[in-house]
Symmetry: C2
Subunit: 228 residues, 2 copies
Amino acid sequence: MLSTTGLPQGAVPKLERPGPLRDRVYEALLELITTRALQPGQHLVESELAGHLGVSRQPVREALQRLSTEGWVDLRPAQGAFVHEPTEEEADQLLTVRTLLEAEAARLAAANAGSAAIAALEELCAEGERAVAADDVDGAVATNARLHAKIMELAGNKVLAELAAQVDRRVRWYYTPVARQRGRQSWIEHRELIAAIADRDEQRAIEAMRTHTEQTRKMYHERGNQPR
Amino acid sequence: MLSTTGLPQGAVPKLERPGPLRDRVYEALLELITTRALQPGQHLVESELAGHLGVSRQPVREALQRLSTEGWVDLRPAQGAFVHEPTEEEADQLLTVRTLLEAEAARLAAANAGSAAIAALEELCAEGERAVAADDVDGAVATNARLHAKIMELAGNKVLAELAAQVDRRVRWYYTPVARQRGRQSWIEHRELIAAIADRDEQRAIEAMRTHTEQTRKMYHERGNQPR
DNA sequence: GAATTGGCTTTCGCCTACAGTCTACGGCGC
DNA sequence: GCGCCGTAGACTGTAGGCGAAAGCCAATTC
């Protein structure tokens, strides 16, 4: 259906609206936490954050609530919000869950993927390999995220995707030091994973994704890196 | 370390404090939603709820936020909160995820369980069977929840437990009509599951839990019950 | 007669203000 | 000198209020 105005459908910039303030506060705080600007264990005072961001306490409170349910901060009653302190045990458990979710996604992707989708995956993989070759660490990490997201999209399970997205971000937070060093090997494993999906081999896809994430866990423990 | 007061550690009633109001509002709303007192798609007006519960709008807002992140209500910007409307597709995906999480829990439980824990499981199972025999549907459902919770506890993965708890509650909401009719068969499957855990047979535990949850899915589709 | 536009009502989003509670520090007694 | 109590400060929890956006209905115009 065409609009009667004759305006092209997609070209209108949709009048970018600032969106709810609480969401922007949420994103800002999440950024501050993931970048370690707010350190684990730190006490987050509502009025401070509010003043610093130039808003009232209310949006800050709502953002903190949401961060709390997603495990980024701990909300002690009548005492306030504290940036969550990851323990070694928790990091391990989180990685276990991630392995589980991603493996299932890989299986579903292998079951559903069309040829166009596989081509897209291979393109992403090539892009990542190029980034690694050029020593573009940030680019490689970003492409990695996009690849995993694409696989999750192919799985076609929104509930799974939502859970995995949450888990993934926290895993990235815990393991950033490791992830940055793991570039090259990681993309070799990606190749195998994509090959399995292309062959519609569900079991092999599961195995590939498992070894891929398990590899990360091993790396983490070998380096003896304290997550705190 | 003993307390210097000489009081036994757990016996002190901890001076029951009402706890944050938002949490109680959250629980109240969750109760209203799960019991269908608030129907799917219904528009939840903050001031109405606040008046009805005898509190201000703020705690209601915070409770709605939390309900939103957990998928119980949809929060449309500048328009308010609406009770989430489950679609058939979503119910199916949710059940897939639940199967995944519970199966992993069963595997971990089989790997970790001590003899005392197994005895506890069998006691719960017996309790459930008694409830079924007495046609105590509510008791059977409650015991069912406790059994699954116990297995999750034995798995010893808190992250997994948290995710599973969320998914579980929503599954129960979608499938309550089915669950109430599935009592007897369900507890037969539980027996097999516990036997597998008792034998420390991880693979068999996974399979038992899978067929258990998959059975629920089949039941659901056979009855052609629209989740809406 | 149908589409549009203007105003009106409802409800949300955010801010400000007050009361309750926890923590920390200083004075007092032992 | 050491430990306890009291008080003050700070922060959170809750309430109420104002501005603004979205939706609805009716009047108007083509």
